[in-house]
Each structure stands twice: as C-alpha cells, then as structure tokens.
C-alpha cells in the first residue's frame, strides 16, 4: 500500500469525470468533489482518462466500442500498481451515462473472457486488463458513507425545501447494473432526508427524459419533460434533483421548448444532489454554480433562506 502523506485521514477514491463534467456541467463535478471531501473522501481525478463513448455498445459483434471504457478501467489498475491508492479497486463515476457504459463494458469482459482476450491483444501498447476494477456511482458512495455521517455534517437543514428526486434510466437499468431497485429506487430519498429536505414522491421519477433524442426530436423530449415536471409540481415539488448531465439538460434547458409548446407552464429548477448537500453543509452560501442552470434556483433558495442573500439569523424573508 502506498504511503498517504498528502491528505491526512481522507479516503482516496479515483473518479472518472467524462466529457460533460468538464464542460457544460462543471457544477456537478465541483460540488461532488467538495461534498465528498467534507465526508472524508478525497476524489482523485483518473489520470489520462478518455471518453467512455457515452452509450454501452449493444450489438453483439461490436467489440471496438468497448476499448474506450476498458482503457479507463486500466488506469485504475495502473494507479493501484503504482501504489497511489490504498487497495481501492473502485472507480467512481458522477455521470450516470459514464457509469452505465463503464459498468456494462466491465461486466461484458468479465462474463466473456474471450472478448477480454481479444481486446487485450488489440490494445498492444497497454498492459492486460485483469477485470478487477469495480465501477460505482457517487450516490452509492454517499449511501455507503452513511445517513448518520451525512446528518452529522448538516449545519443548515433544508427543511423548507420540497424536492422531487428524478432518477432517469442509466443508474437503474438494465437490472444487472442497477444501484437500487429499478422499479422503486429510494437512494436519493434517503440522502435528501439526511440533509433535512422534504422529499416529494414523483411517479415519473424513473420515466425516461428522452436522452439523446434531444438532438433529433427536441419537441418530443419537451413533451416528456413536461410530463415529468408537471407530475412533480402537482405533487408539491419546488425543485428536482438529478445525477445526470443529460437528464439535467432535458429537464432544465428544454423548459425553453416546453414553454413554447405550453405557454402556461411555469418553470421549476433542476440541480444535482451534491449541490444541495453543500448548501446543507453550510458551504457555498453564495450559490456558486447555480448560474449554469437554465431555470435559476437562486430566487427559490433565497426565499427559503438557504443562500446568504437572506437574513439567516431571524429566518425572515
């Protein structure tokens, strides 16, 4: 095991950012890394990572598209060999599309040794992948850290905030990679309750937002978004949480198209759970990162006295 000189007691876990966390969804990465640190975990960016391909290749004869995900898993293997991790064989993902692609590719290689051998032979300049890396998602790590541990770090419980968690597809389906019950997930509910938020049940929480169809059929996606958001709002939600940068785009940015189609529609902010965690931990009182949203959550958060723009001592508006 490598000596840990730099970060005290923090537990080190490598994480894979992927394309969107470095560009459109910087707030997802920044808040996840900061929230994990408060919970005693140092997320280390995977060295020399490459695009995972965003979708798991479903065609039986298509091995080529599994090379990209596998190269990323190899980086974890190398980090361990170099003693950079304390026997940590897990790779954390924040984006659910990356999670799904990396975990499914890993699984296919484990289930089909012949496929792994073909790819290992093809990757001439790389060492062989041994199939020992585990791919996990941020929500799993947070749950593993424990509701009690999270509660203990809460300085400003989000008691006034009614939040409807949205899961989308890639964390729940297919079943063999699911982080929770694919038909009745509760992991976000548990984490939201831990930071004091009022959890709103939304029957549309696992209905697809349309995913990449947003490129080809944006008004179809707007319809799906309209259904998902309208049901959440009817159930009393003031905000939606999602882990996925693509769901976030479809549920948040596509509200522009929703309003074109349904002029009476009133917007609802969408953010990721780690952003709300930071607010509850008393960090980011200025609402840094929320400016990237299409529907700005800051007016709502100010109204709920969760940003420093409000009078925090009296709780008055």
């Amino acid at each position: 095991m490598g000596a840990d000189k730099s970060s005290g007691k923090l537990k080190k876990i490598p994480y894979y950012p992927g394309c969107s966390l470095k560009t459109k969804s910087k707030d997802f990465e920044k808040s996840a890394v900061a929230a994990a640190r408060i919970l005693g975990i140092e997320l280390i960016e995977l060295p020399k990572w490459n695009c995972c391909g965003t979708v798991f290749s479903l065609a039986q004869d298509d091995l080529m598209h599994h090379v990209a995900p596998l190269r990323n898993l190899l980086r974890v293997q190398e980090m361990n060999e170099a003693g950079l991790l304390e026997g940590e064989n897990r790779l954390l993902t924040i984006c659910p599309m990356c999670f799904n692609t990396l975990k499914k590719a890993n699984q296919r290689m484990r289930d089909n040794p012949a496929d792994l051998e073909t790819i290992n032979t093809f990757m001439d300049a790389e060492q062989d992948y041994q199939g020992e890396v585990e791919v996990i998602h941020l929500l799993e790590l947070l749950k593993e850290r424990g509701v009690a541990e999270i509660k203990a770090k809460v300085k400003i419980p989000l008691t006034a905030l009614k939040v409807a968690p949205y899961y989308g597809c890639m964390l729940l389906r297919p079943k063999d990679i699911a982080i929770d019950d694919p038909e009745d997930p509760t992991i976000q509910e548990e984490l939201l309750a831990a930071i004091g938020a009022q959890v709103v049940e939304n029957p549309y929480k696992k209905v697809c937002c349309g995913s990449y169809q947003t490129v080809r059929n944006k008004y179809t996606v707007a319809d799906l978004t309209y259904d998902i958001l309208t049901h959440a709002k009817k159930a009393g939600a003031e905000m939606i949480t999602t882990s996925c940068p693509l769901c976030a785009f479809n549920l948040d940015d596509r509200q522009k198209e929703v309003t074109e189609k349904y002029p009476d529609f009133e917007g609802i902010p969408v953010c990721c759970i780690s952003q709300l965690m930071l607010l509850a931990f008393g960090v980011n009182r200025g609402g840094d990162g929320f400016e990237l949203n299409y529907v700005d959550p800051r007016p709502l958060l100010k109204r709920k006295n969760l940003l420093s723009g409000a009078d925090l001592k009296t709780g008055a508006k």
Binding site: T23, L58, A59, Q60, D62, P174, K206, Y212, D223
Partner: protein, 133 residues
Amino acid sequence: MKKISITSDNYEFLEKVKQLSGEPITLCDQCGTCAGSCPMISEMDISPSEMLRLVQLGQEEVLDTKAMWLCASCFTCTVRCPRGLDLSKIAEALRQITLRKAVDQIDIKLISEEELSRLPQIALVSACRKFTG
C-alpha cells in the same frame, strides 16, 4: 389484412437480427408489456411489440419504420419483459443493419450554432453513436 408468406429470405433476416442482438427473439409471446412501458410509444408508428412480431416473421419492412429510431435505449421494456428479452438490443440490431449501410439519421452540420452551443457533449456523442454509422 396483409397476407404474409414466409420464405428462406425471411428466416435469414430473423437470424441476422438474432445474431446481432444475441436475443432469442422467437420467445416473445406478444403480451404487450413493452408497448405499455415505452415512454416514446405516442410518437411511434408501430409499437415495440409489433416491431418484435415483424422481426419474428422476418419482415424486412420493419427497417422502414420510425419506431426503432425513437427508441432511446432507456431499458424500461428490458427490465419488464416477462420473457426476459432485451428489446433494447433488438432495436439496436435493427438500427445497426441500416447504419452499417452508411445511412445516417442525423447530420450534425444541419444543427444550428445556437443549438450546438446549448447541447451537452454527452447528448451529441450519444446521438452520433446511435444515429450515424
């Protein structure tokens, strides 16, 4: 009603889809759970279960339908199929048959600058993976 007669060509097409998807397509007993679960059903010209039936019968005309291009690979049908079929893989096989003939379904050059600046990278990469050969 259209009369269908099955020839060896039909069998060949079914075998091709079975091979590409790795799914025992003939297991489908047309219960319709996939159609009832599909978030895109209202936009589709044929339902996912009809898509499957056409494949079972080896009808290549299934490749001319819109449905397979509206599938977002959300895997809802996959987790619910009582026969354990992975419909996402079957739809992918159908798309691949067309895409491998270099018949793209999107042209990035036709997307406006404004839209390109809005779309997140994962949307563009996955759309290129699913809609171009």
